[in-house]
């Protein structure tokens, strides 16, 4: 990982192709790495047609690359963290040694929590339009009833996130107060208060990957990927324990998370961070979400990639040696990806 750039906002006023955001992002990455677009061996993006409201929404984004002569390019209909996975796999084949991964999403174009009901079973769930915030509310109460967490623990997550976001210029929501004050705020999707839910966020971001010497040329201190894995749970509510995340645990086992100092977790709801910390087996001294995390900025289809970028930046700026980036996709933490990075070793 040798470059990371991001843009976030509550409402982006431009086109859903987000070409206007991608162009300056790519420029920033060329600046960071010294690469030009001709140095990039593979391009891979993540985005969603339903977020944009039209088929083939990713196609115009190719313009931002400047794709003549043609490029080696692919796209996943997932958070761009999985585009990073595809690019990483491609590097492992030896076919390429550099890749630029990007994602974009204009969540504000539609009613996000309603649009996400289209991710559910189309026969037995979507016709009821269960919105994503309500599903999270049901999940949160299950954990409260099982005494796995309580409202105070959830408020503590929000409080820490909002406080940390004060030093993150990319956060769209910030300003911690106190756990007591947060608990005094009104309920929204009971037992969730608004600060327990990620803000609807538009954005785009991009990461540059490079192998071996290409990485050393591009960055003083690359964040070397030592483990990258992902896993999925069933969607059906009857088929899994919603208070746990088996898929996160499986991904963590494959990627081998040990001795990480910082973890950036993609938890769009406060209680989901508690689920993830447990599922990933993170020690109590691991610093969680120093960026403020998804509760302070959750651009759909890039928020997961951002967690990896934020974690990598802590390594690249010398703050820590070993860090974890996590991404989630689908309803209620259905799909999880973990990326372990190290500054010292290769």
């Amino acid at each position: 990982m040798v470059g990371f750039a991001q843009r976030q906002m509550l409402e982006f006023d431009g086109s859903p192709t987000m070409v206007e955001l991608l162009v300056p992002l790519f420029a920033e990455l060329y600046e960071q790495t010294g690469f030009t677009r001709k140095d990039i061996g593979f391009w891979c993006s993540g985005s969603s047609d339903y977020l944009a409201g039209r088929s083939f929404s990713f196609v115009s984004a190719v313009d931002a690359i400047g794709a003549l002569p043609p490029v080696n390019e692919s796209h996943v209909e997932m958070d761009a963290a999985w585009a990073l996975y595809e690019a990483w796999v491609k590097i492992q084949t030896g076919e390429i040694d550099t890749a630029l991964v990007y994602g974009f999403g204009k969540s504000s174009a539609g009613v996000l929590r309603r649009t996400l009901a289209l991710q559910l079973d189309p026969y037995t769930m979507t016709p009821l339009w269960p919105d994503s915030v309500s599903l999270a509310g049901l999940q949160a109460r299950l954990g409260i009833e099982a005494e796995l967490w309580d409202e105070t623990a959830m408020a503590s997550v929000a409080q820490r996130s909002l406080t940390d976001a004060e030093t993150n210029p990319h956060a769209v929501r910030r300003g911690g107060s106190s756990v007591e004050e947060l608990l005094a705020r009104p309920m929204y999707a009971d037992p969730l208060r608004k600060h327990d839910c990620a803000p609807v966020t538009d954005g785009a971001s991009a990461i540059v990957l490079a192998a071996d010497d290409r990485a050393r040329d591009a960055a003083e201190r690359p964040a070397w990927i030592t483990g990258l894995a992902h896993n999925v749970d069933p969607l059906q509510l009857g088929a899994r324990d919603l208070t746990a995340s088996k898929s996160a645990t499986r991904a963590a086992e494959s990627a081998v998370i040990d001795d990480v100092e910082v973890a950036e977790l993609h938890a769009p709801f406060s209680h989901q961070e508690l689920i993830l910390r447990h599922a990933l087996g993170l020690a109590s001294d691991v610093r969680i979400n120093p960026s403020g995390g998804a509760l302070t900025s959750n651009p759909m289809f890039t928020a997961g990639l951002n967690r990896i970028g934020e974690a990598a930046d802590r390594i690249r700026n010398g703050e820590v040696t070993r860090a974890l980036g996590h991404a989630t996709s689908g309803p209620l933490l259905q799909q999880n990806l973990v990326c372990v990075m190290d500054g010292a070793t290769k």
Binding site: F56, F58, V59, P331
Partner: protein, 387 residues
Amino acid sequence: MSKQPAAVVGVGQTHHRAKREDVSMAGLCREAIDRALLDANLSFDDIDAIVVGKAPDLFEGVMMPELYLAEALGAAGKPLLRVHTAGSVGGSTAIVAASLVQSGVHKRVLTVAFEKQSESNAMWALSVPVPFIMPVHAGAGGYFAPHVRSYIRRSNAPLHIGAVVAAKDRQNALKNPFAHLQNKDTTVESVLASQMLWDPIRYDETCPSSDGACALVIADADTAASVDNPAWIHATAMRSEPTTAAERDQVNPQAGRDAAAYLWKQAGITNPRREIDAVEMYVPFSWFEPMWLENLGFADEGEGWKLTESGVTAMTGDLPVNCSGGVLSSNPIGASGMLRFAEAALQVRGRAGEHQVDGVRRALGHAYGGGSQFFAMWVVGADKPAL
């Protein structure tokens, strides 16, 4: 880091039809998957990861359907990826699955691509009106027809070439029990007599709208060693370019030429016309056969139609193209590219049944998408490649 050998060890596809009302989306996918696993003599427990490919989500009205399908596809508890690269998606999905094995990350990967077009209307899904813009074109046919006209003008091809392709592929489809269209009476004359829809494209020169799925099991050398006649992956290539750009060649796109050049080089092929024994290329409108013959380097620019006209691309010719009946006979959009890759694998495995060409050692699978701008292709062979 070096590339590990990988091979197709299982192939499965559905009986493609206009409406598969007997199955759900999960049932459709499983029909292909179960056949691929049976072919590979493997079970779900043997599979390390699953890669799903599909064209736009608006076709079925489900956002990222692989999420709700995860359990039915046997993906729960495993890594699951979803690829979407427009019409080339079936091909690029197979390439992503192959790279998971070639990278050494996994040993056995299941990949499935599908489309259940009968759930909606592709012409609608592709033409959702955009504010401020005028809806002048009419679906994919309306989009590609002007470029076919350009090809005819540039190559001076006789006007019946499109009908030759359509009649050939429809006759080939009769030898493929999975093919959607089974029209015994299709001839060059009957194609020429069919309605002119998007002039210069006639009704019989267009692909049908199909429900269908295709699945492959791609495995490492150890697994392939225990399988009869695996189809070894000799080369893969993907290239993309913008939909529109000043002076972009839409008839013979550079992305296709670049991908082919890279592919042949990787596969150690210097004369594709001689060294490739069977071709499955993505021909949704009949004229794309001569266009892609040129784009892929089987013929010089402007000469592709001569191969078609002289019967070189017939099953009895020396470069048989789309012996399965091709996209012109079955078009479950998201799966169509993977079907090309799968049919190429069947040919080198000697498992293509009635549409088998004798003695195929190396075959090409090809897919394209968007405005002739996304290309995915592979060469599979009967022999393990020297890597």
